[in-house]
């Protein structure tokens, strides 16, 4: 029931929006739909007692490993919560955007949500892949139709680049389906795959490439800044907050179980790349003048850390990475929302055009500051818990890598504070009247910040969710 509701609520609403075009009510309808999804997910959370909950287990095309198996375990549930939690705010952020055809905008967003739910619910590799690729389609159109400058070239670039990974993943999955008798494509049967180590070493990259691009990890990131900067606000939010988490989820669900030896072999390389990205992004972010581009590079930096933590491949690293994934989702939405709110007031997301806004918008400045605290991972915010766990995990792998990872906290402080200064601080140079935080701003930012702080002080519920599956994952893999 839960699975069906999660897929159908956004999907049917999206179809209705697309065909009925209730221009005036579109945003409200979408908001209600996402809130309903959130309700369902929260219900699922409250009813969750552990293990993998399978709701559907049907053959689709069994001859080639495609089975309709839907359900969730702790990690999947975390991702579902994340998706469900972020989307109402993304929809709400749209109230400020004056995009044409609001029905279509919201329909596309809801389609995306459907497919994202699908990704996190799928318990079959091929089914996962299908949803994984599908989620790209609505986003593609969203960016193409409502994007900013150079959207035509950038969107296609983004699409192709992402699909490069996707096809590589498909190739890998097909290869795996051809191996081993016991593997019928379901996550549950991945354990019966027994791929020789020599194969795992190359198969790792075939599978990982998709997620490396999606996240993105350092040398595969070059689609990201332009896309983030060009995309409409909500598009960037979807990309940054949720879409990239698919990469993380995919690594946990596909890469780690299928090619554990490959992971061992490439572990330090990947961590190194991820950390290079983290530092690279952090350094570049400092001098960016466009707020959204800055967020893009900061996201690159954060995500590099996430990936490094994940590949530490111990309970702290993986749990921390997952926890941080959650934190990062909320953070990205907040950051982008603020950039949108500032753009709304100033007319541009160039920080050169801002400055001294705190005089006019003290409430927004205060909210920004709280978001900033999360962004630089001050303790008692959500990010800190994640980062701390990741550092602890990375240290177990290699002290030097841990040192590199920890150094990002300095970079983060440098660019975030500088950004804050350039936007908010300085002399008041604004002649025009400016509204401070509106009800909508509060609606989006206050709950998100509250969640951030609450989970920073009391991370238990989320950590509990991931702890057991992560332990199981690690122990099952170490057995092989």
């Amino acid at each position: 029931m839960i699975v069906a509701l999660l897929l159908l609520i956004p999907f049917i609403t999206a179809l209705a929006l697309m065909f009925l075009r209730p221009t005036q009510q579109a945003k409200n309808v979408a908001l209600i739909s996402t809130l309903a999804s959130l309700g369902v997910v929260l219900f699922a959370w409250s009813a969750y007692t552990g293990g993998t909950v399978i709701h559907y287990n049907m053959d689709w095309v069994p001859s080639w490993g495609l089975r309709f198996v839907m359900g969730y375990d702790g990690v999947g549930l975390l991702m579902l919560i994340l998706t469900a939690m972020v989307f109402p705010f993304i929809i709400a952020a749209g109230y400020g955007e004056k995009l044409q055809h609001p029905s279509l905008v919201n329909a596309l967003l809801l389609f995306t949500q459907t497919f994202l739910f699908g990704v996190f619910l799928a318990q079959n590799t091929l089914l996962f892949y299908i949803f994984y690729e599908l989620s790209l389609i609505p986003v593609f159109f969203f960016l193409l139709y409502w994007g900013g400058e150079h959207r035509r070239a950038i969107t296609v670039k983004f699409f192709i680049y992402t699909l490069l990974g996707g096809l590589s993943l498909l190739f890998g999955i097909i290869y795996c389906l051809g191996q081993g008798e016991g593997f019928n494509g379901d996550f549950a049967t991945i354990g019966s795959l027994n791929i020789p180590t020599s194969v795992q070493i190359w198969l790792f990259w075939v599978l990982f490439l998709a997620f490396a691009i999606k996240l993105p990890i350092f040398p595969f990131h070059s689609w990201q800044p332009d896309t983030y900067a060009m995309a409409p606000l909500q598009g960037t939010m979807v990309l940054g907050a949720v879409m990239l988490k698919m990469g993380l989820y995919g690594i946990i669900k596909i890469v780690l179980p299928i090619v554990p030896q490959g992971v061992v072999h490439w572990q330090e390389t990947v961590i190194l790349l991820a950390l290079i990205g983290a530092i690279y992004g952090g350094i570049i972010a400092f001098r960016q003048s466009d707020l959204k581009r800055l967020i893009a590079f900061s996201s690159l930096s954060h995500v590099g850390l996430l990936c490094a933590g994940l590949f530490a491949w111990n309970s702290y690293g993986v749990s921390g990475s997952l926890y941080q994934a959650f934190a990062h989702a909320l953070l990205v939405v907040c950051m982008l929302y603020i950039s949108g709110a500032m753009k709304e007031r100033v007319g541009s997301s160039e920080m050169g055009a801002m400055g001294g806004l705190k005089v006019r918008t003290p409430r927004l400045a205060a909210l920004f500051l709280l978001v900033l605290a999360n962004a630089v991972a001050l303790p008692l915010t959500q990010s800190f818990v994640g980062e701390w766990l990741m550092f602890a995990g990375l240290w177990q792998v290699n002290g030097g890598l841990a040192l590199a990872a920890v150094s990002t906290i300095v970079l983060g402080a440098i660019y975030m504070l500088f950004a804050y200064q350039r936007v908010m601080l300085g002399p008041d140079k604004w002649a025009l009247e400016m509204t401070d935080a509106t009800t909508r701003d509060h609606f989006v930012l206050v709950p998100l910040i509250a969640i951030t702080l609450f989970l920073g002080v009391y991370p238990g519920p989320i950590l509990e969710l991931v702890d057991v599956p992560v332990q199981q994952l690690l122990s099952s893999l170490s057995l092989n």
Partner: protein, 628 residues
Amino acid sequence: MRTDLLTILVPVLPLVGAIILASLRRKLSANVAGGLATALIASSFVASVVLFMGFEASTGGRTVHMLDWISVGGMDIPLALRIDALSLTMMLIVTGIGSLIHLYSIGYMHEDERAPTFFAQLNLFSFAMLMLVMGSNFLITFIGWEGVGLCSYLLIGFWYKTPEYNYAARKAFVMNRIGDVGMVLAMVLLFERFGTLEYASIMDMATGGMNDPLMIAATLFLFIGATGKSAQLPLFTWLPDAMAGPTPVSALIHAATMVTAGIFLIVRSSVLFESAPFTKDIILWIGTATALIAASIGLFQNDIKKVLAYSTVSQLGYMFVALGMGAYSAAMFHVTTHAFFKALLFLGAGSVIHALGGEQDIRRMGGLKGSIKITFITFFVGTIAISGLPLMSGFFSKDLIMAYGFQHSPVLFGLLLFGALLTTFYMFRLLFLVFYGTYRGKAHPHESPLTMTIPLMVLAVLSVIGGLLNLPHLFGGHEPMKHFLETAADAIRYEHLGLSATTEWTLMGITTVLVFTTIAMAYGRFAKRATLEGAEADMPFLKRLIAQRWRLDELYAALFERPYGWISAHLFTTVERHVMVPVMNGVGAAALAMGGVVRKLQTGNTSFHLLAMLCGMIVFLLITLMSN
């Protein structure tokens, strides 16, 4: 149970204040906000006092568990507070001096329209500082550690319309963060080693094993953390800049409490440092160097607060010297007395600035002792206290450190003595230039309101009698503070000043004589006629170098700041724009270009097509035949 609640209340009260004030900052007047904030921190103080009274030192300490915080895999880090001698000492300092400074701020800030925000941040700071000192494990301390950093950032940049202030604020935060890297690494390392971060457990486990490389690394990392927060070389340049904040902030955060966090941390983990003598040596020499360099810079500063700031750095250096020699109680003693007299000096400076309507340049002061009497007297007390005139609080604490120094090596004693004389010199220079001679400014000095002068007076008293807290045997005391702290940190039990009474008396005598000589020199130079420094360009090289703060800021700018900006810009414009993106685009472009080339085959010319087809076929035929 009641004490648990009380314990929790200590940090929570200011937090509640911060939240209330922050959310109602538009509705409250400056006085109400200040009153509320003061009341809350004062309540914390009262709670701390009650806890102190009810504390039985012999039990060692008590942990108050509030919440499970981070609990995953094998990691269990609770949100818990620890009450023991060390935390109580710090709590009393933080809440006590904090209350006074809150009170002072009511007067100081009453004209500022953002006073409620100020008090909110001040309360938040108190919360963070209390978390820092009360945390039962490293990670809780780190909450406070980062929290005070954030508040420091906010308060330094409180007057955010001035870009330089914002720069100073950022600088403070970033330099602290550099230290935090060390702190985080140290925690990770300790966790890896002990599987826990609880102070109590680590203290039990970390016995024996000298010169364990892991311990040396951990303690070095901790020390790096401490240098950031406590403004030691090479990370001290932020502190003088931090004077951009309102003066009460300078008093509370950048003199009395936050900057001593590094010392606190090292005392907290003294058991680790005891097993890493190498680190202790490094601490010792860094402390000495910082003490001397900062003191030398203090000689030529003309901003009243900058002088005090460098003096703070210098005094912190002394404390680190003490730590480096394993004289933890001496360090804590100096922390305490320093908190009294440095807070007093800063507040006094604030009172002067307030009296002169914002003037901070001592070259435009002078002769104020008549017009602002209370301020003058209290400032005078502060000055003699810091200079270590006999029987003042600074006398006991500093002499204790110097005595340990002598025990360590006479050279060290000499250096410390030289530093102390420098301190005396620049402090009296400050005193004389501000209060003696004739007034060189244009404002009309007026005495500050009672809210400001009461704290001054209280602190003045404390500065005088503070020495009683740890009165040495020499003066008939029993070093009560040392014995109290022993219960919290075993290492203190073993510290021992093995000098004979004669030696001690001699040292004290030498010091005292030299101090008075120095005062006389200063008097001659600044009190009779105010000798003002000329332009820096006219100074001899060394003097100019010192006056320009050893050009450390410039050095850092050239070494780090500018290269970082350059790298950031060029990573983007060069690497990202000209390598990463083009490589990606290049693949696509190459494919397109290939398409363009291959496309040329399709000439549309039938004969050519036929020929091409034939050739292709022949090639394929050859392939077939050859692979046969």
